[in-house]
């Protein structure tokens, strides 16, 4: 097939000027794009209002999609369960027996915990969630990991607030429009979360790897004490995330840390809950001191510092 000849204008002045203007606008657009790109890399919040408005427009489609997702998952899991019923039954019976034993231990520990806390005079602040919403969209084809939430500033959602599902941490809000908000998922490389091992409180922080897994980095150097299956929960340091939210399960041990799976896959989360910032005063103080001290030598995370 030969290419179409309609780019050759012949002797028409008008057509020639039209083509020339097209080239001028295309190159100018390219240069304008470069300028906007530089602006948005230097200041990531520069275009947040435009993005917020765009998410508002697409919100109905996203909500419909979120509902289909829930329905679709239940259909698929129902079919899957039919095929695996026998195996699943045996596995669940074993699991229930183990869980029953664990539950008694947990009750004892809970009582002890309460007594010890009363002894120390620690009062747990009652955390009342700000909003419950659906995740209505995500950046499924970009290397950055954002999701869009179906609640926004009208429901009290503000940038910085942590987002969790029933199974674990999802991320934190970075931009809030009137009816939608943009969530930086835990798997994004920019999201650094201070954590501790649930078993013994070993401090570490996790950092997204952008491929659905997260890197676990230990604070104390030396022998790597990680084992596969270790559960990491938020530690509450930094003041942003409330302590005790499951974040990751170690699946691979490296010489200086590990690689983990998410405790809560955002694809499985039907509803998520936006929580208030754990200790707002600490976060603002940290931000102010960081501003006073100038930029950190390497990419450190506001509020997620350790």
């Amino acid at each position: 097939m030969a290419r179409s000849p309609d780019r050759r204008p012949g002797f028409s002045r008008r057509a020639q000027y039209g083509i020339f203007t097209g080239y001028v606008i295309a190159v100018a657009g390219f240069l304008a794009g470069v300028a906007m790109l530089i602006v948005s890399i230097v200041n990531p919040q520069a275009f947040s209002s435009v993005r917020g408005a765009a998410s508002e427009i697409a919100r109905p489609a996203g909500e419909a999609g979120a509902e289909t997702r829930a329905a679709g998952q239940s259909v698929i899991s129902a079919i899957g369960a039919y095929f695996q019923a026998g195996r699943q039954n045996a596995a669940l019976t074993r699991e229930v027996a183990a869980a029953r034993a664990n539950a008694f231990t947990m009750q004892a520990l809970e009582g002890e915990n309460r007594r010890l806390k009363a002894l120390l005079g620690i009062v747990d602040p009652a955390v009342k969630p700000i909003a419950a919403a659906r995740l209505i969209g995500s950046t499924a084809s970009s290397a950055r990991r954002f999701a869009v939430l179906s609640a926004g500033a009208a429901q009290g959602v503000r940038p910085g607030q942590p987002v969790r599902s029933s199974a674990g941490l999802i991320g934190r809000v970075i931009e809030a429009g009137p009816g939608t908000a943009r969530v930086l998922l835990v798997t994004d490389p920019e999201n650094v979360v201070p954590v501790r091992r649930a078993r013994d409180g070993l401090p570490a922080f996790v950092e997204g790897k952008s491929d659905g897994r997260i890197a676990i980095r230990l604070l104390n150097m030396g022998m790597n004490p990680l084992k596969r299956g270790d559960v990491f929960v938020t530690s509450g340091s930094g003041g942003l995330y409330p302590p005790g939210i499951p974040v990751a399960v170690v699946t691979e041990v490296l010489h200086d840390g590990g690689v983990g799976h998410l405790a809560s896959d955002p694809a499985d989360a039907d509803f998520v809950v936006v929580l208030p910032v754990f200790q707002p005063t600490a976060v603002t103080a940290l931000g102010a001191s960081q501003q006073a001290a100038g930029p950190a030598p390497e990419a450190s995370e506001a509020g997620g510092g350790n």
């Binding site: 097939m1 794009g33 999701a147």
Partner: protein, 190 residues
């Protein structure tokens, strides 16, 4: 109630042309004829609001693929500067730093123009090869720019996404070819 036999069912037209019965005194609607490419690319941009909440980049860049497919099928339908508005729209939903789409889509249009000037003949395999190069460059550069914005080295997570993208491109061109036939349906009375 007896199960309906095949001839009893109302026949579904197999080709878009069969949707319109009368063809004499009819012409394509100008709105549809020039607007459908833009609308289809923008709808593909909205694929971010699909039911999939991904924790890794898994979906191919559908909007860019539809855009390229239109450009290859009808070289003069989208103006040379179409990358500016369509890329900006894609940036609003893609999660990339704003401006990334504008730059890469505009550059793709300019590259396609050069390719059209150099290669005088077109074929399916050649179109696929050119599109593959453009899409691979697009994905690698997008990941690089995203890595730059997140102060993180280029994530090597785009491998599977790249393979899916290259394999899916002919399907996207088929879908765009179908849309092209819908675009030219004679709907307007002359």
């Amino acid at each position: 109630m007896p199960f309906p036999r095949l001839p009893d069912l109302p026949s579904i037209p197999m080709r878009p042309e069969e949707l319109v019965r009368q063809r004499i005194n009819r012409a394509p609607s100008p709105l549809l004829a020039s607007g459908l490419p833009w609308v289809s690319v923008m709808l593909a941009s909205l694929a971010a609001f699909s039911p999939v909440i991904a924790s890794a980049p898994v979906l191919p860049p559908l909007a860019f693929m539809v855009f390229l497919a239109w450009r290859m099928l009808r070289p003069s339908l989208l103006p040379l500067w179409a990358g500016l508005p369509l890329g900006a729209f894609d940036d609003l939903y893609s999660g990339q730093p704003f401006g990334c789409g504008i730059v890469l889509w505009s550059a793709a249009m300019l590259v396609m123009d050069t390719v059209d000037n150099r290669l005088l003949w077109r074929s399916f395999v050649q179109d696929w090869a050119v599109a593959s190069m453009l899409m691979a460059a697009y994905l690698v550069l997008s990941a690089g720019i995203a890595g730059l914005a997140a102060a993180y080295p280029l994530p090597l997570v785009i491998g599977p996404q790249l393979l899916v993208t290259l394999a899916l491109y002919p399907l996207v061109t088929r879908a765009v070819a179908l849309l092209d036939r819908v675009r030219l349906l004679p709907l307007r009375t002359v």
